[in-house]
Amino acid sequence: MATHAAIVRPTIKTKSRLGGDELAKAFTFLFAALIIALTLLVVWQLWLGSTPTREKFGFTFLTSQLWNPVTDEFGALPFIYGTVLTSLLALLISVPLGVGAAIYLSELALPKLSNSLTFLVELLAAVPSVIFGLLAIFTLVPLMRDYVQPGLKQAFGFSPLFTGPAFGVGYLTAGIILAVMTFPFIISVSREALMAVPREQREAALALGATKWESTWQIVVPFARLGIMGSVFLGLARALGETMAVTMVIGNDPKIHASLISPGYTIAAVVANEFTEASGQMHASALVELGLVLFALTMVINGLAQVMIVLTTGKGSAKA
């Protein structure tokens, strides 16, 4: 093969390589275009399927708190609220835990320990969500009901955030189970980002007299900031769209409650719950429109993430 290639005239060689390049370009373009087409198709279908409720309710769909399939009155606000709140609660718990664990695994742990722990973390990421839901029902919910929620009520009962009966299920419980589900992503992607930081960066910091921790916290982590943020948004995306585990522990109550221990509802959960038996045209359309809202919500949050990344990369040394 090698000898044969050596005989071939340079002009022909260039030509054939160009052909291959063009072919590869065409193919990869096709794949990329397919993904965009698929996204557009999803939006188009959601837009089409939600025509009846879009025409009837307009933008009040986004601000109404009513959800009554009997009288055909639908509003998305309780579901938007529940989706955003549980995802934020999840990140509040999983970001410090996940990034902390990633720092330990990439910087401080012995390589052997780090590798085996990372394997376990990646295993956790592959567990189906319904398993997390079951785990939550049988362990987390009783714990929350008997200890955590009464404790929170006793300690912070003066604030509206922790009032109401302790059912065990609710926003906080859903947030915790979402945190458990998102942190494998945060750990493994953050760890990759931290490991990718050039060795010279650490050496330079140490040479200047920094301690191990100072080098990690002030040099390595800021350097890997982009990757760590990416991991957080990956986690957020999972939290926003998570369905089974959430519907099993959130209490499925389509109302807005200020209290974190009250039952609530999320967009994905209500679609999963009600779609199969939504026989009325308006009901089905309202659920499709919720899908559209979730899509838009994800886009907005991802957009904000992009803006945040651009803003923070401008200053500092993080440009990789």
């Binding site: 009513l66 959800w67 009554n68 399939p69 009997v70 009288t71 029902i137 049988f138 919910v141 009783p142 009901r145 009966p165 059912f167 065990g168 299920v169 519907t247 099993m248 209490g251 499925n252 109550d253 389509p254 039952p263 509802y265 959960a269 999963a272 719950n273 009600e274 199969t276 038996e277 939504a278 026989s279 009901h283």
Partner: protein, 335 residues
């Protein structure tokens, strides 16, 4: 579930290839009667070689598939509305197949044995007007039982379901307040309570939450050995839900409409359990393919005669004889 369907599909393809005379039918709909349907279809296949591939995707989805013509027949816990019927290309006939019931299940620490619920108590609990277990409206029907002064944790289905339809249909009949504030549907706007997904979701929440009450199908409560309450019926009798008292609810209906679309909740019968329901097969009234038509009518005839004997074994109530006879006459109208 998926694997079962898949193997069913494989068997089906193999069958089609093996003999041209062998028939295969597809059906989809209600989840509640799925266990008995699977059993019936299995036996029917060994008897006649006709394979029925049934997908338990929910009543609403079953009706949708029937309307789109993607299945040979549908199944639903709730009779079709006039609006739904008007959308069909071919008129569908309702064939009640078996009866089911919805029972009140509860978990009150310290209370063993069956409680009795009046219609007012059930409606009050689900409307949120009765909030404590020792409320006189509950305690009044349970003399001798020491009920705690704890808050009632109300549990309902979060997914749309035939079970919720039957339950809310019953509440609409016994409580004017319920009828005006909430109404009857597969999914409603619940005034109070937690939502559990599916029967197992409700059952799990009730089992785990002290002082809770929920509703599930009789079959589900029996299979899972859950405690459930008696209910005072329309003639004031306290009735334990059972296969016999559910069949009685259908038998006691004075007038059975010609199309069988009737709610049998709050039945007037003296021995009738009041939260009972038919579940239906939805059969097109015109079937072009003669072999398919024969397979379907054969199945219906077999189901209404021999099939009924197997219902009680799976905790479904068999149809009263008068209803089954009336349905046998309806079979002849399938053209």
């Amino acid at each position: 579930m998926k694997t079962i369907h898949f193997t069913g599909f494989l068997a089906l393809t193999a069958l089609c290839a093996a003999s041209a005379s062998a028939q295969s039918l597809t059906a989809a709909g209600a989840t509640f009667p799925a266990p008995i349907y699977q059993k019936w279809f299995g036996e029917f296949k060994t008897k006649t070689g006709v394979q029925v591939n049934y997908q338990d995707i929910g009543s609403g989805a079953g009706i949708k598939q029937l309307t789109e013509g993607t299945v040979d027949f549908g199944a639903s816990d709730v009779p079709m509305t006039d609006e739904q019927l008007s959308k069909l290309k071919v008129k569908a006939l309702h064939f009640p197949s078996v009866l089911g019931a919805v029972v009140m299940t509860y978990n009150i620490p310290g209370v063993t044995g069956s409680l009795t619920f009046t219609p007012e108590a059930i409606a009050g609990i689900y409307l949120g007007t009765i909030t404590k277990w020792n409320d006189p409206k509950i305690a009044g029907a349970n003399a001798g039982v020491k009920l705690p002064a704890n808050d009632i944790v109300v549990v309902h289905r979060s997914d749309g379901s035939g079970t919720s339809f039957v339950f809310t249909d019953y509440l609409s009949k016994v409580s004017p307040d319920w009828k005006s504030k909430v109404g009857a549907a597969a999914a409603v706007s619940w005034p109070v309570g937690l939502g559990g997904k599916g029967s197992d979701g409700v059952a799990g929440t009730v089992k785990q939450t002290p002082n809770s009450i929920g509703y599930v199908e009789l079959l589900f409560a029996v299979n899972n050995k859950m405690s459930f309450g008696n209910v005072k019926n329309a003639s004031g009798e306290v009735i334990t839900p059972s296969v016999a008292s559910v069949t009685e609810a259908a038998a006691a209906m004075k007038e059975m409409p010609a199309d069988f679309r009737v709610s049998i909740t709050n039945s007037p019968g003296k021995k009738a359990y009041p939260i009972s329901t038919f579940t239906y097969l939805l059969i097109p009234s015109q079937i072009q393919d003669a072999a398919k038509r024969k397979a379907i009518t054969d199945f219906l005839t077999w189901m209404l005669k021999d099939g009924q004997k197997e219902a009680a074994g799976l905790s479904y109530a068999p149809l009263p004889k008068a209803v089954a006879d009336k349905e046998l006459k309806q079979i002849a109208t399938i053209k």
